[in-house]
Amino acid sequence: MKGFLLRRAATVPLTLLGVSLLVFAATELVPGDVARTILGREASQASVTALREQLGLDRPWIQRYADWLGGFLTGDWGESYTLGVPVHDLVLDRLGHSLLLAGVAFALLAPVAVGLGLWAGVRHDRAADRVISVGGLAFGAVPEFVTGVILLVVFAVKLRWFPSGAQAPEGSGPLIVLWHLALPALSLVLLCTGYVARHVRAGTVASVESPYARAAELRGLTRGQVVRRHVLRNSTVPAASALGVQLQFLLGGLVSVELLFTYPGIGALLLQAAVDKDLPVLQAAALVLGLLYMVIVLGADVAYRLLDPRVRLGAVTS
């Protein structure tokens, strides 16, 4: 396990280097001149040139890339072109908000999806299973911004049970914060539940019908004991990797959900920065998300190994 972690950790800087290159190249390819966008169409060519020099945009890209990466690693992420505040604080502040939203969504997703999957699997090919499988598939097929809009219209506008904005007022208690985050989190959960539940269901069906479950039942265990002691763990093995995949999906969903519920997260920031051609913000936010991605993948791999001794102890090559 330790060797595995070390090996995997060693690949992180290399991947990060690749991601940073991609992010930098992508922002380089953003059409239009940055200085021109900032100053507006009316500005003189001379002032545009002056701004380009001031921003360092006239230097070769390799030099700018090296400066940027060096700055990123030392915590100097530059200043936002449009907001005039340090990028470091801005991005991390927004990241905090997003992690809170994603965390709430995930805390809801994991038990609900695993629970539904288990239930469907234990009672497979019966009514409950059909409802869960088809329902999960249907919700998974509807994009989060559509379910988000429906939730917003029904529960915030018509019924007024929930606020329409996800950001709680400054200094609110945790319950108020959760109340504000409920609708955006729910739209993300609805998107991802079906996928995870289907994986858990498949694992559960295989496990319920496995010879070891049969053997346990023949030893005199009740169905409930068999499920708790044997099926649960065996069916969460596929769930670990499915949850990892969905967590990444969830991060992607943040962009539209944050925008919809006017939530000051990193997704909304990313989108705004792209529109404004605010390169330092865009690059930093993208790189931070990339880093987060890698952490999630690593986490899912570790969970998988912890759950399945065959992988952990090297009988199966993962």
């Binding site: 070891y212 053997a215 023949l218 030893r219 005199g220 002691r229 044997h230 763990r233 001794p309 102890l313």
Partner: protein, 507 residues
């Protein structure tokens, strides 16, 4: 006392077990013999009242020590299973939870019996396993050790009925012998009525007091084991006994060309630091059938794969008609590749499930002609050409694989356990086809099997492998009837054949 009275079982309305009755006294062992599809496993599962979904008992009674098993309400059924029933399934590996340590699983079995966790070590000792096995996960144990653990779990209580469903299938002859000896030794101590389900008539004959022969869901013959095996009354039992290959039985003596076709010299293969083939040299003559025997892990499959150009690289040389063969099949030219073909143990894994038999054979032929003739060679009925492998029985699938192996008019066919997964009567037919085609085409076989009697029936010469080396080789008659190497003698004994000592020198 176990009494089964007029038991009938159906799957979705189709009857698979008809009106079966038998009884077993405590301490006695009852063997249920039959081929696949005879209903023996269904019967075994009905005894624990644990039929797969869709299955139901349609008539009859099962009484264990006065308890009417089929009438028990759920709660009492569980209590009865916990206190009176123990089941050992085939493939012990899958009967153990892969995510739980062995100790925890045994502790669970003990807890049901109200016994403390500390008894795990004692339980392991009973099945001759060291206590440290408790800390292992199932996948870290060998097949034989896994089966011992399952038996240990069965011994956690004091079962009145012990059902052993093919407890040694998939195990090597030596390990099988050990497991059976263990069951034999524990039999008196357990004092339970034992039902041993098996397709192996000889094995049941050695272990059981009484034998019941199942055919198409009916008990066609029943009686003391010795009587049923020596004077079978029902024609099916007689056919079953006759189709089982036996060492020492009449075998066709055939001559073959002595010019070597394939020569293997100093072949060495290793996985990491473990040598699986250690300086192996072997020659196969034109038209010769060479039987390759040994336990799993002896290197026989690795050798076969090396000849076919599969598997990893290593030292040594393989020549075909004097010309050296590249190690990897990808580097052999198509004409050479066609000269060596292979039949695998599991046709399910080697036949593409989405192709019809016709497509499979047409592709193997290349030019597309003569599919019907090819199928006829392998005694494959013409109407089977347009179905997919999933619709075929095990024997039919293996015939497709054999037909495919002959498609390229090979000089050598490597057969890796081609009949191991088949029932005795089907096996006899497939072996006959292999022998007929050999005689007709003059092809050579490298025939791998763990079943020494099968090898005896087919092979001209036998090569015995152990630990990656060839320990003995010679004419089949000599090796299997008068073996000299202790390993070969052990192998024969484990399979229940007492080798003749005639020519062994005593020093």
């Amino acid at each position: 006392m176990i009494t089964v009275d007029g038991l009938s079982v159906a799957y979705q309305g189709v009857a698979v077990v008809h009106d079966v009755s038998f009884s077993i006294a405590p301490g006695r062992t009852y063997g249920l013999v039959g081929e696949s599809g005879s209903g023996k496993t269904t019967l075994g599962r009905a005894l624990g009242r644990h039929l797969p979904s869709g299955g139901a008992v349609t008539a009859g009674r099962i009484e264990v020590d006065g308890a009417d098993v089929l009438a028990l309400p759920p709660r009492e059924l569980r209590a009865w299973r916990a206190s009176a029933l123990a089941v050992v399934h085939q493939e012990a590996g899958s009967a153990l939870d892969p995510t739980m340590r062995v100790g925890a699983q045994l502790a669970e079995a003990l807890r049901i019996q109200g016994r403390p966790r500390g008894d795990v070590t004692g339980l392991l000792a009973k099945v001759r396993l060291p206590g440290e096995v408790a800390r292992r996960y199932p996948h870290q144990l060998s097949g034989g050790q896994q089966q011992r653990v399952v038996i240990a779990a069965a011994l956690a209580g004091r079962p009145r009925l012990l059902v052993l469903d093919e407890p040694t299938s998939g195990l090597d002859a030596t390990v099988e012998r050990e497991i059976l000896n263990l069951i034999w030794a524990l039999r008196a101590e357990i004092g339970a009525a034992i039902v041993l389900i098996s397709h192996d008539l000889a094995l049941v004959g050695r272990l059981c007091d009484d034998v019941g022969v199942l055919y198409a869901g009916r008990l066609v013959e029943e009686g003391p084991a010795a009587r049923v095996l020596s004077e079978p009354r029902h024609p099916y039992t007689r056919a079953l006994l006759d189709s089982a290959p036996r060492i020492g039985a009449e075998r066709a003596h055939r001559g073959h060309d002595v010019t070597p076709l394939l020569e293997v010299r100093g072949l060495t293969r290793a996985y990491g630091k473990t040598k699986v083939l250690d300086d192996v040299s072997l020659a196969i003559g034109r038209g010769e059938i060479v039987g390759l025997v040994g336990e799993s892990g002896s290197g026989k499959t690795t050798l076969a794969r090396a000849v076919a150009g599969l598997g990893r690289r290593g030292g040594g040389a393989i020549t075909l008609d004097g010309a050296e063969l590249p190690t990897e099949v990808g580097r052999r030219d198509p004409a050479t590749r066609r000269r060596i073909s292979m039949v695998f143990q599991d046709p399910d894994a080697s036949l593409n499930p989405s192709h019809t038999v016709r497509t499979i054979l047409t592709r193997a032929l290349g030019d597309g002609g003569g599919v019907a003739e090819l199928a006829a060679l392998a005694a494959l009925e013409p109407h089977l050409l347009d179905v997919r492998p999933s619709r075929l029985s095990g024997g039919q699938k293996q015939r497709v694989a054999i037909a495919r192996a002959f498609a390229g008019r090979p000089d050598l066919i490597v057969c890796d356990e081609p009949v191991s997964a088949l029932d005795v009567s089907v096996q006899a037919g497939v072996l006959r086809t292999l022998a007929d085609q050999q005689a007709r085409t003059g092809v050579s076989y490298l025939f791998i099997s763990h079943d020494l009697a099968v090898v005896y029936q087919l092979a001209d010469r036998v090569v015995v492998m152990s630990g990656g080396r060839i320990v003995e080789e010679g004419p089949a008659e000599r090796i299997l009837r008068e073996p000299r190497h202790p390993y070969t003698i052990g192998l024969l004994r484990a399979a229940g054949h007492e080798p003749s000592q005639r020519r062994r020198h005593v020093h």
